[in-house]
């Protein structure tokens, strides 16, 4: 009778664990609007995991490395039924098992110290301490799973990048290995003092993992905040410039209106005097003056407006003639990337153009898009071939630490959007063309 109750109890615990781990993986990876747990075959995989656990509980009385197989089952569930990156899927299948190993080892050691029993006794005898130990292990597992979900739950704003993920992942992996060894050692020792050390070591491993996680998440949050701040600052700076240039435009137009009457009077006078040549000369001068009003582009994207317009005025002060052809919409490209891409391409073009000794300095900006991609093409006039002498486009400035990043940044953004960068020369023009693919 007692034995049957024990078997039922153990099976219930295993089913519980199966559900807890699969549900954890589901929670970890799912986003709003995804399929529910039951619909994504969560129940099926939970029972599968539960039976795997039950089977291995009969084969061996402490799980050790068999736990990797449990991870495998959860990973299968995550891989076939849930969405998310591979790194996250691996993490979501390893974390619960790690938590299980650490908690069961920690609790059983703890109780063996508490009840003055050996580990074997706690783990194999159907006694009250074992019952308590199993129950409290489950409570600890649930508690740790909840904490880790809170910590790890991937959300759009502060998702970790691959490097950060790998950092946490490797600490986790090392922890698994250490805790497995500690388990093996703890099975062979009998003195209570040594057991205390083991319990403390487990506690230490748990704390180290939580701390590492906090540190990485915190740093990553700080980094995003800094990046966002930079963009905001830039946006503000540019909108300030925009206002100033709008004001100066207004002034120019006011002045033109005022001058218009006088100018017409002069032309009228000249024609009446039949002084046609003078009149033509005068109107030509006036036309040139008119066309010199600052160019302003206006797309649907404030960042693009701000950057191109400010670079246009900068180019103008260096006496560079800029022609710009541009689409209005820039959806699918992140503002930060757009900002650094455009400012780097344009800065490179302006720097190359402003110092060269040629009669007409020109920059041609052409941004086109279709359903599949964006092409940013910027051409600037050059006196002689650049690629012939410097094919890798290494900076010519003396301060190499702060310069020469532009080309790298442009390449990395292109790589991010599965695109391409092409530098080439044609007809005394240096061309930089960047393709960014739209998310299909």
């Amino acid at each position: 009778m007692n034995r049957v109750l024990w078997i039922v109890f153990e099976i219930i615990i295993n089913i519980f664990q199966g559900f807890a781990f699969c549900f954890y993986s589901y929670k970890y990876l799912s986003n709003k609007g995804d399929k529910g747990f039951i619909k994504s075959s969560g129940v099926l995989f939970s029972f599968l995991l539960a039976s795997v656990i039950t089977f291995f509980n009969y084969v061996t009385f402490f799980e050790h490395l068999w736990a990797l197989l449990y991870s495998g089952v959860i990973f299968l569930y995550a891989f076939f039924k849930l969405r998310g990156s591979i790194v996250n899927k691996i993490l979501s299948s390893i974390i619960p098992i790690l938590i299980m190993i650490i908690s069961s080892a920690f609790i059983s050691n703890f109780y063996s110290v508490l009840f003055g029993m050996t580990l074997e006794e706690i783990l194999s005898q159907n006694s009250f301490p074992r019952f308590i130990a199993i129950l409290s292990t489950q409570i600890m597992i649930v508690y740790l799973l909840m904490i880790s979900l809170k910590l790890f739950k991937k959300n759009e704003n502060n998702s970790l990048n691959l490097k950060e993920g790998m950092l946490i992942f490797s600490v986790l992996l090392i922890s698994i290995i250490i805790s497995t060894f500690l388990n093996l050692i703890s099975l062979q020792i009998h003195s209570i003092d040594e057991r205390y050390f083991i319990v403390l070591s487990f506690l230490g491993i748990v704390i180290i993992n939580i701390l590492v996680f906090y540190i990485v998440v915190d740093l990553s949050k700080m980094n995003t905040a800094i990046r966002e701040n930079e963009v905001l600052k830039l946006k503000q700076e540019y909108s300030q410039q925009y206002i100033t240039s709008a004001n100066s435009q207004y002034e120019v137009i006011k002045k033109l209106r005022h001058d218009f009457k006088n100018n017409m009077a002069v032309v009228n006078e000249l024609i009446q005097q039949k002084n046609n040549e003078k009149a033509l000369e005068y109107t030509k001068e006036y036309l040139d003056e008119l066309s010199e009003t600052e160019p302003l582009i206006k797309t649907n994207n404030d960042i693009v407006n701000a950057i191109i317009n400010s670079k246009l005025s900068a180019a103008k002060t260096y006496g560079i003639n800029v022609i710009c052809m541009c689409v209005t919409d820039f959806s699918d490209i992140n503002d930060v990337d757009l900002c650094s891409l455009l400012s780097n391409i344009l800065d490179n073009a302006i720097t190359a153009c402003k110092n060269c000794q040629i009669d007409s300095k020109r920059i041609f900006i052409n941004i086109i898009s279709d359903e599949y991609k964006y092409v940013f093409c910027v051409k600037n006039s050059i006196p002689e071939s650049v690629l012939q002498h410097n094919p890798d486009l290494i900076t010519t400035k003396s301060d190499k630490d702060n310069h020469g990043m532009g080309v790298k940044i442009i390449r990395s953004i292109a790589a991010k959007y599965d695109g391409k960068v092409d530098y080439y020369e044609e007809d005394k023009e240096f061309c930089c063309s960047v393709i960014l693919k739209r998310k299909l």
């Binding site: 797309t299 689409v327 044609e426 299909l440």
Partner: protein
């Protein structure tokens, strides 16, 4: 024959510009014809009749602006090249409406001749495909097809299938794709697979992960072999260089 149209409401400019374009074109070919129109409606009527290849279009025109004309042209699925003429040094446009080839500035420091020369030099590369070839099979009979309208060529045992724009059925002819490759590689075609030869003009996307390419015009995906991937990349880059 390359059919060119110029549309501007300023008749003095229109004539002067006509002369400039004429001079530039003569450097490349004598097989061309230039029509002029002083307003948008006139241009559209003429376009229906002649189907221009290249249109120089003034933006600031009364009633129907250059943008409006471009939009109407686009709605009719006309694939002519539009070059805007404007007083400004910047041109911002809705890419869904139309895709201008380039634009020319009036009244700026750069002489118009120089801009026109540059643009025509580029256009001539596009015009290379403006050549008719005769295709023939049992279903559609003999038909003259512009190379620029061939989407892709597919090999099928001893036959090749020409998939042509706006034609539901491909034209099936006897032939060998390797022989065709030689002929068409001068016309911006690239081999993506042992069975396919694609017109780079219609190649909208190269999917490096799934080894596929997309022909946007008919929303068709074709497989790309790993062996040809590098060559496709290179040819596509060279094509963009020549065209943008």
């Amino acid at each position: 024959m390359i059919k060119i149209a110029i549309c501007d409401d300023n008749v003095v400019f229109l004539n002067a510009f006509n002369q400039i374009v004429d001079n530039c074109m003569r450097k490349y070919t004598s097989d061309f014809d230039i029509s002029t129109a002083s307003n948008g409606n006139l241009l559209l009527t003429k376009h229906k009749k002649y189907e221009f290849d290249i249109i120089f279009l003034d933006i600031d025109m009364p009633n129907l602006s250059g943008f409006d004309v471009a939009r109407i042209l686009r709605d009719d699925f006309s694939r002519c090249f539009i070059i805007f003429i404007t007083n400004h040094s910047e041109l911002v446009y809705e890419s869904l409406d139309f895709q201008p080839f380039n634009f020319i500035r009036k009244n700026c420091g750069i002489p118009i001749e120089e801009s026109v020369d540059k643009i025509i030099c580029k256009l001539m590369r596009h015009m290379k495909q403006n050549k008719k070839i005769v295709l023939e099979d049992e279903i559609s009979g003999r038909s003259a097809v512009y190379i620029k309208d061939i989407l892709y060529i597919e090999s099928d045992k001893h036959y090749v299938l020409y998939h042509v724009l706006k034609k539901e059925l491909p034209i099936k002819m006897r032939g060998n794709i390797s022989d065709l490759l030689e002929k068409y590689s001068t016309y911006f075609f690239v081999r993506i697979h042992k069975r396919y030869l694609v017109n780079l003009r219609f190649l909208s996307n190269i999917d490096n992960k799934n080894y596929e390419i997309t022909i946007g015009e008919i929303n068709k995906r074709l497989p790309m072999s790993r062996n040809y991937k590098h060559e496709v990349d290179e040819k596509y880059t060279m094509f963009l260089r020549a065209m943008i």
